[in-house]
């Protein structure tokens, strides 16, 4: 009897230890910043490609001048409501007191400086691909933006999703290393880095399973709109017959091949993409044309 009790205790302890081990927040790989000299101007392009402002600028604030990353935009989901945090350079309300490592770990691994997992409303599953050079430059650019003292609004997420440790398992299951689509030319590699990484197209264009993991088997094949209105289109060649030049024009001016203008969230995506060098938009177009067709 005692033996059984001991075995059980040992098993439970082992289970807990295994659970803690599996859900532990990851650390940055060694040498992540090997060639890190900061260039804020290059960082501005990373900032645009990654679409940081689309979520982190306070809603209903539009205007001239540099973006104020005060946060506050709400993201409704089946798990609760997430609010984009303040990532302005304010030392208390924002990320002004963060080190470069804190920032890199947050962006590429979805782990806070205090070691807590972030919710995947923050697209770190895509940003995991970000090169250290781009992280360094992005961090430098964000430092140049205005600080805002507006405190971040806490997420409204109920049990059990409010246990952040559980997100460690989510990451294990749904954030595999590596890219989804093959790339055999330099242009396709660049396009893939942008589309699967910085621009995080799949976060909206790929459907999710019941617990929010992306369905990689139907990559970019469309999904319900989280806002509840309509669907986000399938952009694989099975459904989208736009030419590469149509796509580049769409990413540049927002015009569809019928010369209608882009709608919904793509308006903001295009505001961001139009700031990139033309070659980058051509690379994304090449990637989209090369996607495996998913009906």
């Amino acid at each position: 009897m005692r033996l059984i009790a001991r075995t059980l205790t040992a098993l439970v302890l082992f289970g807990v230890a295994l659970g803690l081990y599996l859900t532990r927040p990851a650390a940055l790989p060694d040498g992540f910043f090997a060639n890190g000299t900061a260039d804020p101007q290059a960082g501005a392009l990373v900032f645009a490609a990654a679409g940081c402002a689309s979520c982190h600028v306070a809603p209903e604030v539009e205007g001239e001048g540099p973006p104020v990353l005060a946060g506050g935009l709400a993201f409704l989901s089946d798990f609760g409501t997430f609010y984009a945090p303040n990532i302005s350079p304010d030392r208390t309300a924002g990320i002004g007191a963060w080190t470069l490592s804190d920032f890199a770990r947050a962006v590429t691994l979805g782990v806070s400086p205090g070691g807590a997992h972030y919710y995947p409303a923050f697209p770190y599953a895509s940003y995991q691909h970000m090169t250290s050079e781009d992280v360094v430059n992005l961090f430098a650019f964000i430092q140049t933006l205005p600080a805002s003292a507006t405190p971040s609004r806490p997420h409204a997420v109920g049990f059990p999703f409010n246990i952040r440790r559980g997100l460690g398992l989510w990451k294990l299951a749904f954030v595999p290393d590596g890219y989804v689509v093959g790339a055999d030319t330099a242009v396709l590699e660049r396009g893939r880095y942008l589309a699967e990484g910085l621009v995080h197209c799949a976060e909206c264009h790929t459907a999710r399973n019941a617990v929010g993991g992306l369905n990689r088997a139907a990559w970019m094949a469309g999904a319900p709109n989280p806002s509840g209105k309509g669907t986000i289109p399938n952009i694989t060649p099975a459904a989208l017959d736009w030419s590469a030049s149509d796509l580049v024009e769409y990413f540049t001016s927002g015009f569809t091949p019928d010369y209608d203008s882009a709608g919904g969230q793509m308006v903001e995506v295009i505001e961001n993409l139009s700031q990139l060098p033309r070659a980058d938009r051509e690379a994304i177009a090449a990637y989209v044309k090369a996607l495996p067709a998913v009906p």
Binding site: S245, E249, T252, S253, G254, F255, S261, G263, V267
Partner: protein, 157 residues
């Protein structure tokens, strides 16, 4: 009894008159919607000519680009007072995606429409300059279209 008959006739006549008036009014709104759509078609046709050059699908031709840009700028600067009649919003009328915000925030709509006038006026100069200028102007026209549609165009359904 005769009084009652008279009252009834008057009532009926009034009702007919009101229906006719409402009908005429609704016809005017429908015509305005048709005209707006035609105007959008003119805008889209000329934007398409410029867009094909921006894409490299047709070769750049300064004369054609200028002609397209001039028509585009004309279409974009039509007097909005008689096109955007109050009461012709999506939800009230069929066949339109015009949001009620066009009238409830008239200043905002005017600002968005002026942005297109400015961008298309700049296109007239750019179109005759060279392909690079045309492409830059094209992005600005696209932004103006997109911003206005975002604020003032309702969902498709």
């Amino acid at each position: 009894m005769r009084l009652f008959g008279l009252a009834l006739t008057t009532l009926a006549a009034t009702a007919v008159a009101f229906t006719a008036l409402a009908d005429g009014h609704s016809k005017a709104l429908e015509s305005a919607i048709q005209a707006r759509k035609a105007n959008m078609g003119v805008i889209s046709y000329h934007t398409g000519l410029l867009g094909a050059m921006a894409k490299g699908d047709t070769p750049y031709d300064a004369a054609i680009a200028t002609a397209a840009a001039e028509n585009l700028a004309s279409a974009a600067s039509m007097n909005r007072m008689v096109l955007w009649l109050e009461g012709s919003a999506q939800g009230t009328m069929e066949g339109t995606r015009a949001k009620p915000e066009i009238w409830s925030d008239a200043a905002g709509f005017e600002e968005d429409a002026m942005a297109l006038e400015t961008a298309t006026a700049a296109m007239v100069t750019a179109a005759g300059t060279d392909l690079d200028a045309l492409r830059i102007a094209m992005a600005a026209v696209g932004t103006a279209c997109g911003d206005c549609h975002k604020a003032n165009r309702g969902p498709r359904n």
